[in-house]
C-alpha cells in the first residue's frame, strides 16, 4: 500500500488494560489506513474494542490502560513521537472527535458560544469578542443551527441540536480526520438522518476523512465508503461497503448483517448465537470460533492471520 495517499494510518496498534490477574489486550495489532475524504466505518459488538481504538488513535487511553505497541500516523507525522503538548494541540486541530453520548459531553453550565470560544482559545486562537461571535455563528450555520443557539445552554437544546453543536465544536479548527463514536445512538431515526446528513456535508466541505464507529449496519450501509468489522479487539474484516453487504467474507460479518431486523420482510429474528468473549479469557485460535457456525478443528487451535485482499480489503479467517 502506498503510504503517500493516506491521510491516517493505524499500524499494528495494541492497547492493554492492566488487571490484577494480568494485562488484558483490548486492541490487538490493528492496522488500517484512511484515504483523504474517505468515510470509514468501524462496527462490532460492545466490548469489541471500537471505542478503545478511537481513544488510542487520539492517545487518550488512561491508566490502567496503555498503548503497548504500534503507531498512528497523521499524514507523515507519527503520533507516538509527539510530546504530550504537541499531541494536545493536534487533537481537534488535526483529529477531532465527536464523542459517544456527546449530548452529555457538553458543559452544562456554559453557553454554546463559550464552549466554542474555549475550544478555539485552548488551541491558541484568541479572538476578539466580535470575531469570536462571527466565528461561532459561522460554525453553527455550517451545522444547520440558527445563530441564537450560541446563547443557549445545552439543556435548552434538543438531542439533535446538541449533537450538531458537538459537530460544530469538532470542526472549529478544520481537522483532517473526524472520529464520530456512535454519534446518533441516542437519537430517533428522523433526527439521526438529519445529524448524519450534517456530518456528511460538513465533512465534504472540510475535505476531512471520517471514522464512524457504531453497530447499526444500516447506518454503515448508508454512510460509509469502507467498513472494518471488529471482534474481540481485532479487525477481522475490512472491505468496501458494497462488498461487505453483498459478499461478506468473515462469518461474523455475515451474522452481524443478518441480525439486523428488516423492514421489508417479516421473518425470524436472528441473533448471533453465544456471547461476546471475555477479553481476559479469549478462546485459543480464532476468537470467534466458539460462536461460528462454520468453525473447523483448525479454527480452535490456530489464530487466523490478517490477509490483505487488494488495496482496500482484508480478512482474518481460515475459511475466507
Amino acid at each position: 500500500m502506498n503510504a503517500g495517499d493516506r491521510i491516517l494510518r493505524v499500524e499494528r496498534l495494541r492497547v492493554s488494560y492492566d488487571h490484577p490477574l494480568g494485562p488484558v489486550r483490548a486492541v490487538g495489532e490493528v492496522s488500517f489506513a484512511l484515504r483523504p475524504r474517505e468515510r470509514f466505518g468501524l462496527a462490532g459488538e460492545s466490548g469489541s474494542g471500537k471505542s478503545t481504538m478511537a481513544l488510542a488513535i487520539l492517545r487518550m487511553i488512561k491508566p490502567p490502560g496503555r498503548i503497548d505497541g504500534g503507531d498512528v500516523w497523521l499524514e507523515d507525522i507519527p503520533l507516538s513521537g509527539l510530546t504530550d503538548e504537541a499531541m494536545r494541540r493536534l487533537r481537534l486541530a488535526g483529529i477531532a472527535m465527536v464523542p459517544q453520548g456527546s449530548m452529555n459531553s457538553l458543559n452544562p453550565v456554559a453557553r454554546i458560544r463559550e464552549q466554542i470560544r474555549d475550544a478555539l482559545a485552548d488551541h491558541g486562537e484568541r479572538l476578539s469578542r466580535r470575531a469570536g461571535e462571527l466565528r461561532a455563528r459561522a460554525l453553527l450555520a455550517q451545522v444547520g443551527l440558527p445563530p441564537e443557539v450560541a446563547d443557549r445552554y445545552p439543556h435548552e437544546l434538543s438531542g439533535g441540536m446538541k449533537q450538531r453543536a458537538c459537530i460544530a465544536i469538532a470542526i472549529c479548527l478544520r481537522p483532517k480526520v473526524i472520529i464520530a463514536d456512535e454519534p446518533t445512538s441516542a437519537l430517533d431515526v428522523v433526527v439521526q438522518r438529519q445529524v448524519m446528513e450534517t456530518l456528511g456535508r460538513v465533512q465534504a466541505e472540510l475535505g476531512a476523512a471520517v471514522i464512524l464507529i457504531g453497530h447499526d449496519m444500516g447506518l454503515m450501509a448508508q454512510f460509509v465508503d469502507r467498513l472494518g468489522i471488529m471482534y474481540a479487539g481485532r479487525l477481522v474484516e475490512v472491505a468496501p461497503i458494497v462488498d461487505i453487504i453483498t459478499a461478506p467474507r468473515h462469518p461474523y460479518t455475515r451474522l452481524l448483517i443478518e441480525s439486523l431486523p428488516s423492514l421489508e420482510r417479516k421473518g425470524e429474528l436472528r441473533g448471533i448465537p453465544g456471547l461476546a468473549p471475555v477479553l481476559r479469557e479469549l478462546p485459543p485460535g480464532c476468537a470467534f470460533h466458539p460462536r461460528c457456525p462454520m468453525a473447523q478443528p483448525r479454527c480452535g487451535t490456530e489464530r487466523p492471520a490478517v490477509r490483505e485482499i487488494g488495496e482496500d480489503a482484508s480478512v482474518a479467517c481460515h475459511l475466507a
Binding site: S46, H215, S259, P261
Partner: protein
Amino acid sequence: MTPLLELRGVSKHFAGGILGRDRKLALDRFSFAIDPALPGITAVVGESGSGKTTLARLLLGLIEPTEGEVRYRGRPLPGLSGSQRREFRREVQAIFQDPYEVYNPFYRVDHVLATPVRKFRLAATRADRRRLVEEALRAVGLRPEEILGRYPHQLSGGQRQRIMVARALLLRPRVIVADEPVSMVDASLRATILGSLRQLHEELGISILYITHDLATAYQVADTIIVLYRAAVAEAGDVELVVKAPQHPYTQLLIASVPRVGTARDWGTEERNPEAPSPAQGCNFADRCPVAIPRCSAAPPPLYRTDPRRAAACFRLSEQPVLLGEDIGQVLGPRPGAEPPVAAVLSA
C-alpha cells in the same frame, strides 16, 4: 369482555418552567384497551418526547392521568383494594430500558428474582423457589449456573436485560409493558431478547406493549402498531399495513428515515414545506408536513378509518369515516382468521 387494562380518554400534562406555568402535554386523549382473550403484541413508536414512556408509566400506574381513567379489569386504578392492587402488580409487569439501573449493585442477581417469588408467595419451599427461578432463566436462554450467585456488574447488559424478562415471566403476567427493552444492547443480542418476548407471547398468551423508537424491531415483533407524534396518535393499525404503506406523512417520514442495509444509497432527506402552517391550533405535524394544507392549522385532525385494521389522523384522508370515539382499539384487534395462541384458548 372487560378489558384487562384500559386507558379511557387519558391525557397527561406535566408542569414545567418556573412555578409550573408552562404546561406540557405529554399524552392527548388516548384510549386503548388490552383484551385478555385476544393477546397481541402492540408496538408503540415515536420520537423522543412523543409520549411513549408517559403511556407506559400510565399503564403501569406509576403516574396518574390529568384527565381520563386507567382501568384494570374494569376498575379505576386509584380505587383498587389491597388484594386487587397486588393482583394488578402481578399481572402487569414492566421491563425498562436500562438493564444497569434496575439492579441494586450490592445484591446478587438472585435477589431480584427471588424477591417477587417470595412477595407473591409463588413457591412453598426454598427448593421450589430455586426451581421456579431456574425455569424462568432457562426460558429466556440463560444458564442458571452462570447467572445465580453473581453480582450485576459481573454480567453483560444483554444478560441483565434477559434476567429482567425472566423476572417478568416468573410472575405469570398477562401483560408486559416493555419500554425500550433493547435500545441499550447490541444488535446481535437484540434479536435474542425480542425473540424471547415473542415466544412468551406465543406460548403463554401474554399481551405485550413494546415501546420503542426502532421501527424495524417493531415491525418484526409486533402484530399491531401505534405511531405517536407529539402526544397524539398519528397512525395505528396492522403493522403490515402501517409499515408497508404508511398513510400519515409522519409515519412516511419515519419509515423513510430508517437506514437500510443494501447497496443502494437511498436514505434521502427530509422534505420541508417552506409554507407549512403553524401547528398552534391544528395538526401537531403541520409545521413539518410536506403536504400540509390550510385546513391543517385550523383544528387537529380526527382519526380516519381507512381500513378495518388501520386509522390515521390526517385531513388528506377525510373522505374516509372518522374512527368512532377515537378508540384505536377498534383497529388493533387480531387479524380476521388469525389463530389465537394456544394458551389463550385454554384460559378463555
